[in-house]
Amino acid sequence: MTTPTKTLDVCGKICPYPDMDTMTTLKKMEKGEVLEVLLDYPLSVERIPRNLKKQKHKLLEVEKLNGPNHRMLIEAHGLKE
């Protein structure tokens, strides 16, 4: 199992903060580092994977937890360089 480099908890946040916080955090990470995102906003669970493709970050895993809670593992593309 992949160990995340960093964890971002955006539970309870309103639209579009779950997406924005995820993207800005990924931007600051080195290539290959893994971000763990904890979220509970249904639209973002569907929208983040769509937008990751455009940014070339790699979605490693989406795990459904209790209720609307999800855990995502994303490998950063390293846009920082």
Binding site: M20, T24, R47
Partner: protein, 348 residues
């Protein structure tokens, strides 16, 4: 409660269910075009408008509704629309968006609707009323005997034929463009039951469902004596008038039952999908969405309609006022999204 008003509740439940399953929010739809370069929800909105543009003329021909396009008071619509657009970005949802999210357990949406209802009432009958009245009276453009201008009547054309032809032309253009830019959407592999009740709906079924709800809403609302399509703000204002300001003789009408239905429908949908959760966002967010809601309430009453009235219900009636309002709402939303999301990113 008569049978007629019960239809408001039932339509609301259908509407709330579809809004929750489709994550249908016009704030996201408009904002995401510049923020995430994502048009998915905007396509849903477009489909919903098109479906109603086919449905309203048929209802009108059948004598089931009388068209009721919004007036063109350009000053009120510009000011109100832009205020509403700014407000909905701060509130994290449009009028229908924050209403259905109350049923999902989003506390920030509840503070947004409190702001919407409060400022809506203050603009309708309180100290902001003179501003609204001034703008609405002094910038009004009507044609003929005080008719609200539409894309049909300014050319002397009948509404029904014009709307149907326009819907056909727009639909055909859309189809051609869509076929040219065919996206390879990954089909979700799931049973039909899961696709309806558990997974989020795609943009196309969502748009069609919302469009059909809109048609049924106009029909049943007109049968209940309220010759008017889907709307959100007026229903919320009714509750404040009746239970907080205690205005005598205020009745809980079709539009207020619609609001109750939306929350119940979204609650049912989110419970079935396992997406209900009371989400507490912290006081900072609560204050932000409350302020956003206040701007939305002022904007919606000043412009004589929120995103639902003008975009979802007004565009299919070809109202020029609603067209201007839709543009104003988008401008306000883009301005605010640029200020608080796009610009800070570029500066880093």
């Amino acid at each position: 409660m008569t049978i007629a008003l019960l239809s408001g509740l039932l339509i609301g439940i259908l509407f709330g269910f579809a809004l929750q399953r489709g994550r249908f929010c016009m704030n996201s739809a408009i904002r995401d075009t510049i923020l995430m370069k994502d048009n998915t929800l905007l396509k849903s909105v477009g489909i919903a408008v098109l479906v109603q543009m086919f449905g309203f003329p048929l209802l009108s021909w059948a004598g089931l509704i009388t068209l009721n396009p919004k007036p063109l008071f350009w000053g009120a619509i510009l000011v109100g629309g832009i205020a509403f657009g700014i407000g909905m970005v701060l509130a994290g949802g449009c009028a229908s968006g924050v209403t259905y999210r109350v049923g999902e357990g989003v506390v920030a949406a509840l503070s947004a609707v409190i702001g919407l209802a409060a400022a809506g009432t203050i603009t309708a009958m309180g100290f902001l009323k003179p501003i609204k009245d001034y703008l609405q009276t002094n910038t009004k453009i009507a044609i003929g005997d005080g008719l609200s201008p539409t894309l049909a009547n300014i050319f002397g054309l009948p509404y029904e034929v014009t709307a149907l032809l326009l819907a056909l032309v727009l639909g055909a253009i859309w189809l051609v463009v869509a076929l040219k830019n065919k996206e390879d959407d990954e089909e979700p592999k799931a049973s039909l039951k899961d696709r309806i009740f558990v997974k989020g709906w795609g943009w196309l079924p969502t748009g069609i469902a919302i469009g059909i709800v809109g048609i049924l809403a106009y029909w049943t609302s007109a049968s209940a004596g309220r010759n008017y399509p889907l709307a959100i703000t007026s229903g919320w204002i009714t509750f404040v008038k009746k239970y907080i300001v205690a205005v005598p003789d205020v009745k809980i009408g079709w539009d207020a039952w619609l609001i109750v239905g939306i929350i119940v429908g979204a609650l049912i949908a989110s419970l079935i999908a396992g997406e209900f959760k009371v989400r507490w966002p912290g006081w900072g967010t609560i204050l932000q969405t409350l302020f956003g809601g206040l701007l939305m309430g002022f904007g919606a009453v000043t412009a004589a309609g929120c995103n639902v009235t003008h975009i979802l219900s007004g565009l299919p009636q070809l109202s020029i006022g609603s067209l201007l309002a839709s543009i104003s709402i988008a401008l306000g939303a883009w301005l605010m999204a640029w200020l608080i999301f796009v610009r800070p990113q570029n500066e880093k």
